[in-house]
């Protein structure tokens, strides 16, 4: 009997190992193909730009764009624009996150607050809020306050919605037993409801972050001034196409970095959640 069990567990262990190996191979293969296809894209870009079929104005060579970014970095221009864009996008994002979670929690806890904000959220969420940008400029001017405000205005909706649905889905028995054990309203919120709703809240934040970045770039393009979007717009006005393409590459890096960072935060915060176990 023990023998058979031993065999069975050995077989399953082997199956695990081979599955794991296949997965690893797949990751390696995919990683390799990924790097290859990105390299291929860059090489095609370079060759096509140098082939003479398009003017350098329409498509500057990738090497020229890299050189431009390098020079901007040496001159310090890049860091100033990058820093300003990140500062405004992230400030707006953090305000939207804190405000959105607070509002969501208040709506789920208080019927009056819920009644008042529910139609505003459900009508406002699908609206293209970027259309309000000229009004915000009219009220607040062309400086950082406007740029941050439009980010908050756009990014807060997914956070509120996610917080509401997350809190509504919390297991009632958890709340009841916490109450039974004498937890106060505040303790139930901080120790039971918010942690239980955290996966959904984080999903809301993961939706809000790219929105914050998209809107920040638009705000800079409309209002001008420093920042990656503003620099792109200036380059475009002076028909400086290297500057425009350098802007795209820089903004792509920022977007990629922020999204990866957010995914990392999610993994960190949800180590206790079964979602983390499922992934590995």
């Amino acid at each position: 009997m023990a023998r058979v069990e031993g065999d069975a567990s050995l077989a399953s262990a082997q199956a695990d190992i081979s599955r794991d190996a296949a997965r690893r191979l797949d990751v390696v293969f995919r990683g390799g193909a990924g790097i290859l296809s990105i390299l291929l894209l860059l090489i095609t870009w370079e060759l096509f730009a140098r082939s003479g079929k398009v003017t350098p104005f329409m498509l500057p060579a990738f090497s020229a764009v890299v050189e431009r970014i390098y020079n901007d970095a040496l001159a310090g221009e890049l860091w100033r624009n990058l820093g300003l864009t990140m500062y405004r996008a992230l400030t707006g994002f953090v305000i939207a996150a804190v405000g959105g979670i607070t509002l969501g929690a208040m709506m789920s806890g208080n019927r009056f607050v819920r009644w008042f904000f529910d139609p505003i959220i459900s009508v406002g969420f699908p609206m293209p809020k970027i259309a309000f940008l000229p009004i915000i400029i009219l009220w607040l001017g062309l400086y950082d306050v406007s740029k941050i405000s439009i980010v908050v205005f756009d990014a807060i909706f997914p956070v509120v919605t996610a917080t509401l649905t997350g809190l509504a889905a919390v297991d009632k028995e958890l709340i009841w037993s916490a109450r039974n054990m004498g937890a106060s309203q505040r303790e139930v919120m901080w120790q039971i409801k918010l942690p239980a709703a955290l996966p959904q809240i984080l999903t809301g934040l993961q939706v809000a972050l790219p929105i914050a970045l998209i809107v920040e770039i638009i705000g800079e393009m409309v209002m001008g001034g420093y920042g990656l979007g503003g620099a792109m717009m200036t380059a475009s006005r002076f028909a400086d196409s290297r500057g425009v393409f350098a802007g795209i590459v820089e903004i792509a890096f920022v977007g990629y970095g922020l999204i990866k960072a957010m995914a990392m935060v999610r993994r960190r915060l949800l180590v206790w959640h079964q979602e983390a176990a499922e992934r590995s």
Partner: protein
């Protein structure tokens, strides 16, 4: 009657905000050039509708948005479905999708202008490029989730690849595909309005910017609210469509 009352109570806050807006402007609690009374905005809206500004610019925006979105749905959707079925395509194209997915799409505005100028072409290209990726990802995830048993049985019953794609893979991918298109719809509005706001000679975004720069703020508010209303309505209509398309599901 019950439902009418319920709807009224539900949307009462919006009415209250509208009243507060009107009162604040009428009582000069705020600067009326920065916040004209809602009633004057309504008058400006009727004027814009009468002299055709709203319709002409609205038609231009609608054409750009619809063309770009349609291209994104057809090409992006096909790409996603193909990636889910052909492994080689998946391996090579997926990294590119992942590379372009986090790019804030608004960064493409100056490039499309560089390529196609200030007219319709650049906006259509922008919306197409910006909206394609969410559709592709929706189609890809949906099609990958297609039940293998269904696919195999369709194949064994002699369906060719195209037939099987259309009859088995597309319906099972539909819920996620439709979700991807909903994201794309919202994105299309953002890109359309902002690109028209930045560089254009017509379109609702252009009209907002134009009215703002000439100081006719009542008109500007009217167009802003129109765009917001259109975005909201488009999303609600799309949800009805989704509901209807997925009515076969339990």
């Amino acid at each position: 009657m019950q439902t009418v009352a319920q709807t009224t109570v539900r949307y009462l806050p919006l009415l209250l905000i509208a009243l507060a807006w009107e009162a604040a402007a009428r009582l000069h609690l705020v600067d009326t050039s920065a916040l004209p009374p809602l009633s004057k905005v309504a008058v400006a809206w009727v004027d814009l509708l009468r002299d055709g500004e709203l319709v002409d610019n609205g038609a231009a925006s609608l054409y750009r948005g619809a063309a770009g979105l349609l291209l994104a749905v057809i090409l992006g959707g096909s790409l996603g479905l193909c990636m889910a079925r052909w492994r080689m395509l998946d391996i090579f194209v997926n990294p590119l999708v992942e590379l372009f997915y986090p790019l804030p799409k608004s960064a493409l505005i100056p490039v499309t202008v560089l390529w196609l100028g200030f007219g319709d072409g650049s906006k259509i290209l922008l919306i197409f490029l910006g909206c394609m990726i969410p559709v592709t990802i929706g189609a890809y995830n949906g099609a990958r989730g297609a039940d293998h048993a269904l696919v195999w049985s369709a194949r064994s019953m002699g369906a060719n690849r195209l037939r099987m794609m259309w009859d088995v893979v597309v319906p099972s991918a539909l819920p996620e595909l439709l979700n991807g298109i909903r994201t794309a719809l919202a994105l299309a509005f953002i890109l359309l309005v902002s690109s028209e706001l930045i560089v254009a000679q017509k379109g609702l975004g252009y009209l907002i910017g134009y009215l703002g720069s000439t100081g006719s703020y009542e008109g500007m508010y009217a167009v802003v609210l129109t765009v917001a209303f259109l975005g909201f309505t488009a999303d609600r209509l799309y949800q009805l469509l989704t509901h209807w398309l997925l009515r076969w599901r339990v």
